[in-house]
């Protein structure tokens, strides 16, 4: 996720921060504009195109019957994958998922899973034999920073519009996938004593540390991930958690519009 930006631009951004400003005029806690368009992909069971500023992410859901895991014979399976395709950034390369892409997919997965947004017990078809498999595929289209929040939003927005394709497999009529929660990931970066939400790609490139907090409808925390080679102090962490909870509420309201 590191990006080559010129030293001059780095200095410029850094100096702005010292003055309490950001290049695009936002406050440190402010998100860029967020838009969510759903059901763009008719071949998918559910889909959502999420834009945060210029960042664009397309999430698609496919479902099919398959075998449960041996240690959870009566529960559906969620498989989350993220493709950081080279179309989206000069720093993404073709090939198998990198560490960065794997981490992103796993954090998105954690949000869906730990919030229990999807009740896996209801996805059992034949106990021990056949369950619904939900594939959450996140396709990054344009990486202008903070694609983790966008991907997490895309995943849950796509799930919210998913129709279980029962008829296609001779399993009765299609029905909307029941979704019980709306986990929202909010990411902040840190440098010096400053904490800044929804970093753009330049801001990401000068930050050492990032913290993502995933919160659920009832205000509880259901996932966290620190990344980057810096450190965080407990007061910083607590402040990020506080703001994250507020921001998540605001973003969650977006879903009422969809």
């Amino acid at each position: 996720m590191t990006n080559v930006i010129s030293e001059i631009r780095k200095d410029y951004i850094y100096n702005l921060i010292l003055k309490g400003e950001r290049a695009d005029g936002r406050t440190f806690d402010e998100y860029r504009d967020i838009s969510i368009q759903t059901n763009l992909i008719s071949k998918a069971e559910g889909s959502a195109l999420v834009k945060i500023g210029s960042s664009q992410v397309l999430a698609g859901i496919k479902m099919q019957p398959g075998e449960p895991y041996p240690d959870a014979p009566n529960r559906g399976v969620i498989i989350t994958n993220a493709e950081l395709v080279p179309l989206a950034s000069p720093t993404f390369e073709p090939g198998p998922p990198t560490e960065v892409g794997i981490e992103l997919a796993r954090v998105v997965d954690r949000g869906v899973r730990e919030s229990k947004a999807v009740n896996l017990e209801t996805l059992c078809l034949v106990p021990g034999k056949q369950v619904w498999i939900i594939f959450i595929d996140v396709h990054i289209l344009d990486n202008c920073g903070n694609i983790l929040d966008a991907s997490s939003l895309g995943a849950i927005a796509a799930l919210l519009t998913t129709k279980v394709p029962a008829s296609k497999f001779g399993l009765g009529e299609d029905y909307p996938l029941p979704v019980n929660d709306i986990p929202i990931a909010t990411t902040a970066i840190e440098f010096g004593d400053v904490v800044m939400f929804d970093p753009d790609v330049d801001e990401e490139s000068i930050a050492n540390t990032r913290l993502t907090v995933i919160t659920s409808v009832n205000g509880s925390i259901c996932g966290m991930q620190k990344s980057g080679t810096g450190t965080l102090r407990t007061e910083q962490i607590c402040r990020i958690v506080d703001v994250a909870c507020e921001k998540a509420k605001e973003i969650r309201e977006k879903f009422l519009e969809v």
Partner: protein, 251 residues
Amino acid sequence: MEECNDNISFFKEGLRLDSRRPDELRPIKIEAGVLARADGSCYIEMGGNKVIAAVYGPREVHPRHLQEVTRAIVRYRYNMASFSVEERKRPGPDRRSHEISKVSREALEPVILTSYFPRSVIDVFVEVLQADAGTRTAGINAASVALADAGIPMKSMISACAAGKVGDTLVLDPMKEEDNFGQADMPVAMTPNGDITLLQMDGRFTKDEFSQALEMAMKGCREIYELQRKCLIGKYAQLETEPFLEVQVCD
């Protein structure tokens, strides 16, 4: 051509299942400059196909040993999103996408002035977001606009389109049902002045049918070329006073 099912009727009162005439293209929508990070980009819809192309470069080649001393190399990566097709596709390239990447690159390379940029690479990335027969031609059309959008010097645009045969009738731009149950499919790409840069065929054509199908596909390419042109003019007309497209895109 998977199967030719004679019980399927592909026409009703001379029109196709989606009400098109045999020689009619599906509705097309082209938009250039849709991505912020890429040097050039284009989103295209051709019927049910939704495809996005990005161009990066000319830029440095990694790994180095791929460099060419006298020209830029061109790379083309055709990729399908897992959710773009009926049955979920495993992520990553398969044999089909490797072949499509190769012939698509060879469809565009003839018009790219690679000698302007020795030791560099021009990368073309095509992502199929939704597939409905004809993704390779949609990808080439988008890539061609994205190359222009990136300011890559080209001798001309490339336009691409397939002709097929269903129920013993030649049709332009087959959609999914016509592709699955048809008798032949032939994707073609060409320059505005009729030089063929992509030609593939499978199924069955007599020599006469082949000639007619080729002519039909070329007619489709010419129509698409007008749309590509309009898209780019629409985008650049305000920006540039010189007739940019006349000079750079058409030869």
